[in-house]
């Protein structure tokens, strides 16, 4: 029996074979040379440019755009990558509309910023096509650093440390390098295996050993790492997910959106991946958007994002929201889940309307129900189990300066620490800066 968009339940193969390829193609195809030249021409080369300030990694954007404009994209790539070794993936996944492009003076002038993200991709793609990563290592320092977590923070830290001459061992509970770049980003943002290709390219620096499927607290212990290495960097990410805390949450097909995305990213054949006919995504961030859009692209008949506050308050940017709605996802605002109903499997989600009052957000007595045979929860992630001895700041690992934790010789960065907005680019900046601080401390 063949399945279609109308097949009830959570099933695979809702689409025709060829549709998967079309649906999961590059969401923002690269600029060709002519397009890049035209786009680059629009940059005003501002002084002390707002776009640089808005970039967590502080890339000299006017300079790299000028280098593209003058026909030297390799020099442009070097300008980008010397600040942000993950310039390639950041060009694809950064919410540029709230970062560099949001700050562009041409956004103020005409409502049309310079296409910084696309230009960054043009330059970094040029270099990655051309060959190996361009940086050489300093003379061997004889120092060894352990990096726990192979996501953007950990690998940015590892690359910078290797560059500075240190030997680095990277540990990760997952078998592959990349962290959220590999397991957490919507696949249409980095198609064609880009995340792995970028990591392979980055690792060419040398001096970095990877120990996969090696979890902190299970296979390795922080105390052991501190004893065996000269310094430790923790780029743990957020291993746990927040629970809804409502009845029916344990019904089958109620799962974290992050798991759904990770399964999708690792699927060898998207046609084998089950998805509901009616999918409800609860949350308002990028994870909610990524999960909802991909559920739709997999062939779900209806996909609804339900968010308890207004659309303006969603952590996902307007551009992300528009991307979702353009793909047929419905966004329902002011809806707080109160129960999940179903006998043996999820059938409906019940929401209460909400309102903003003097005391903050509160639910109203009136409720409504959405049909659902799959519910994806995306109401935030939290730290997983932590080693003893680390001081917390709220729900994250407390750090001072460039990622120094309360334990001597232990640094941390990325989503497990406060201060960022859980963005790839912020994690890269924190990993890089921690590496510089580790270096200064080791060489002192």
């Amino acid at each position: 029996m063949t399945t279609s968009q109308l097949t009830p339940g959570v099933v695979a193969g809702r689409l025709r074979a060829g549709d998967y390829c079309t649906n999961f193609a590059d969401v923002a195809p690269p600029l060709d040379g002519h397009e890049a030249r035209v786009a680059a021409d629009r940059c005003y080369f501002c002084h002390d440019a707002p776009c640089i300030t808005a970039c967590p990694t502080g890339i000299d954007i006017p300079l790299f755009i000028r280098q593209i404009a003058t026909g030297t994209p390799m020099a442009a790539a070097r300008t980008i990558l010397s600040q942000n070794i993950f310039g390639g993936i950041c060009a694809r996944v950064c919410p540029t509309e709230t970062l560099c492009e949001g700050a562009c003076v041409r956004e103020a002038a005409e409502g049309k910023p310079v296409e910084i993200g696309a230009l960054q991709r043009f330059a970094t793609d040029t270099m990655m096509r051309a060959g190996p990563q361009p940086f050489g290592r300093a003379a061997a320092s004889g120092r060894r650093v352990a990096v726990v977590g192979a996501g953007p923070a950990g690998l940015a830290c590892a690359h910078r440390l290797a560059l500075l001459g240190h030997e680095v061992t990277v540990f990760d509970a997952r078998p592959k390098l990349g962290g959220l770049n590999e397991y957490g980003i919507a696949s249409y943002k980095a198609p064609g295996g880009f995340a792995q290709a970028e990591v392979d390219w980055l690792m060419q620096i040398g001096g970095i050993t990877f120990e996969g499927a090696c979890a902190l607290g299970r296979d390795i212990m922080l105390d052991g790492l501190r004893a065996d290495f000269d310094a430790v960097f923790l780029g743990l990410g957020l291993g746990g997910v927040n629970a809804l805390g409502i009845p029916g949450e344990d019904l089958p097909h109620v799962t974290p959106a992050t798991d759904f995305i990770a399964d999708l990213r690792q699927a060898s054949d998207l046609a084998m991946l089950p998805v509901g006919r009616n999918v409800v995504v609860i949350g308002g961030g990028m994870t909610a958007i990524d999960a909802a859009v991909q559920a739709k692209l997999l062939g779900a008949e209806t996909v609804t994002i339900a968010y308890r506050r207004s659309r303006a308050q969603m952590p996902a940017s307007r551009v992300e929201q528009d991307h979702a709605t353009a793909n047929g996802v419905k966004i329902v605002e002011h809806a707080a889940p109160v129960a999940i109903h179903g006998a043996g499997a999820v059938a409906e989600v019940e929401f209460a309307y909400t309102a903003e009052g003097a005391q903050g957000l509160h639910t109203l007595p009136e409720t409504f129900r959405l049909k659902a045979d799959q519910v994806l929860t995306a109401i935030g992630q939290k730290l997983g189990a932590l080693p003893e001895g680390l001081t917390l700041a709220g729900r994250k690992v407390a750090v001072t300066g460039a990622g120094r934790t309360s334990l001597p010789g232990v640094w941390a960065g990325g989503d497990c620490t406060p201060g960022g907005e859980d963005l790839t680019v912020t994690a890269v900046a924190q990993g890089r800066d921690a590496a510089d601080d580790i270096h200064a401390s080791l060489m002192a």
Partner: protein, 433 residues
């Protein structure tokens, strides 16, 4: 990264990018910022004699010409030489040179046309430990009315005379800055060489009125209802400057005379082009006045990348490389035949090529159904106008017809090289040897 180290008339600098004598080099504060940004050298804004300094207007000093998107293409200025006391400038020059010994520090000079004045000012400059002097024979406004600047530069005998004084009274390398406001740039360059100049720099600014205000009927920039001609510079003047540099480089009388190329240098590519035409280094001004000192970073990375790509290991390998290919019209190959080719995949169907060719050239482009534009080889004279007006880079290109092929326009076979000097239509033609 290629080594950009440069030596010009014995003056070393870490790269061939200098700032021209102009407002950006008028003060210690600016010059320090320029060196911090990476500029290889500066020519300090022109000093005059001791005593009461010149006075500048306090209305607008600049006017501009824009390209699309308000891109500044040309700048015109009516500012005079430095209006700060000589002693202050000299003190600052000395302080900056002491702190940046690896950068080139050249001092621009303009004093009245008598040997004593030059002797006096040269002694003052020597005491600063500056690396050399540049004689400002180019400034076309204000100072020229007082018998200096381009008033000297337009008379080769004066150039020679003053240059001789400078060489007789100073150990410093002497660069003579030439005005383009003349009919033949070779004559002043020859005069400078005869006077003993170590190098020439060019071009200085071009006499110009940038625009006229159609309400007040006064030229811009307007000072209290009146305007005057100013000195034009920026990207718009680059083609004029390139030609003048090439003229001097290929003139047997001045061949080998070091040249500092000036005129619209904005990117690494501009610099490389000047150098290929014989400039040993370049000086920039309008570009930094538009974008700030930081642009030198692009010039450094760009020239390095270009040199690496070409396998050049020193900037000297670029200098003059295009000079042998600059020739007179009469030596161009009249048997060379090309035809325009439109890449239909790149064509955006704007029709600009058609309008240009149909209205103003040889009616050699056909417009078909669905706005498909194709070249009629039988009418195409290869004027290149379609290439020039096409908004898409490399959409229209010129394809060379090989020797032996038939040119559909003339029906004749393409012959090997032959030029006007032997052409049968030339009444002065000599038989080919």
């Amino acid at each position: 990264m290629a080594n950009l180290a440069s030596e010009f008339v014995g003056i070393k600098s870490p790269n061939p990018f200098w700032l021209a004598s102009a407002p950006p080099t008028d003060k210690e504060y600016n010059v320090r910022r320029a060196f911090e940004a990476g500029w290889g050298g500066v020519v300090w804004k022109t000093l005059g004699l001791d005593g009461a300094p010149v006075v500048n207007v306090s209305g607008p000093r600049y006017g501009a010409i824009y390209g699309p998107d308000r891109r500044l293409m040309g700048l015109n200025n009516i500012e005079l030489i430095t209006d700060r006391p000589l002693e202050v400038n000299l003190r600052e020059i000395k302080a900056v040179k002491r702190d940046y010994p690896d950068r080139a520090m050249v001092v621009s000079l303009m004093v009245p046309c008598d040997e004593e004045s030059w002797k006096f000012v040269l002694k003052q400059v020597e005491d600063t430990e500056a690396d050399g002097v540049e004689l400002n024979f180019g400034c076309p406004h204000g100072m020229a009315e007082r018998g200096m600047g381009s008033a000297v530069g337009q008379v080769p005998e004066y150039i020679e005379m003053v240059t001789r004084w400078v060489k007789a009274n100073s150990r410093m390398p002497c660069i003579v800055k030439l005005t383009p406001n003349i009919t033949d740039i070779r004559r002043p360059a020859e005069a400078a060489k005869r006077g003993g100049a170590d190098a020439v720099s060019l071009i200085n600014t071009i006499n110009s009125i940038t625009s006229v205000n159609l309400d007040s009927f006064a030229p811009e920039p307007t000072i209290d209802g009146k305007g005057t001609h100013g000195g034009y510079c920026g990207p718009a003047v680059k083609p004029i400057a390139l030609n003048m540099v090439a003229e001097i480089a290929r003139n047997p009388a001045t061949a080998g005379l070091p040249i500092s190329g000036i005129g619209g240098v904005t990117t690494w590519r501009d610099a490389a082009e000047f150098m290929a035409l014989g400039a040993h280094n370049v000086q920039a001004c309008t570009a930094v006045m538009t974008y700030g000192f930081k642009i030198v970073q692009e010039m450094i990375s760009g020239l390095s990348e270009y040199m690496d790509t070409k396998g050049f290991t020193s900037t000297g390998q670029i200098v003059g490389r295009a000079v042998p290919n600059v020739t007179d019209w009469q030596y161009l190959n009249l048997n060379y035949v090309t035809k325009a080719v439109i890449d239909q995949d790149k064509c955006i169907k704007c029709g600009r090529c058609y309008a240009a060719c149909e209205d103003t050239s040889h009616q050699a482009i056909a417009m078909g159904a669905d706005r498909v534009f194709t070249v009629k080889d039988e009418d195409c004279v290869a004027c290149n106008l379609c290439v020039d007006v096409c908004p898409v880079e490399n959409c229209i290109t010129m394809k060379e017809l090989p020797v032996g092929a038939t040119d559909p326009r003339t029906g004749r076979k393409v012959e090997p090289y032959a030029n006007w000097t032997t052409h049968p239509n030339n009444p002065m033609a000599k038989a080919a040897e």
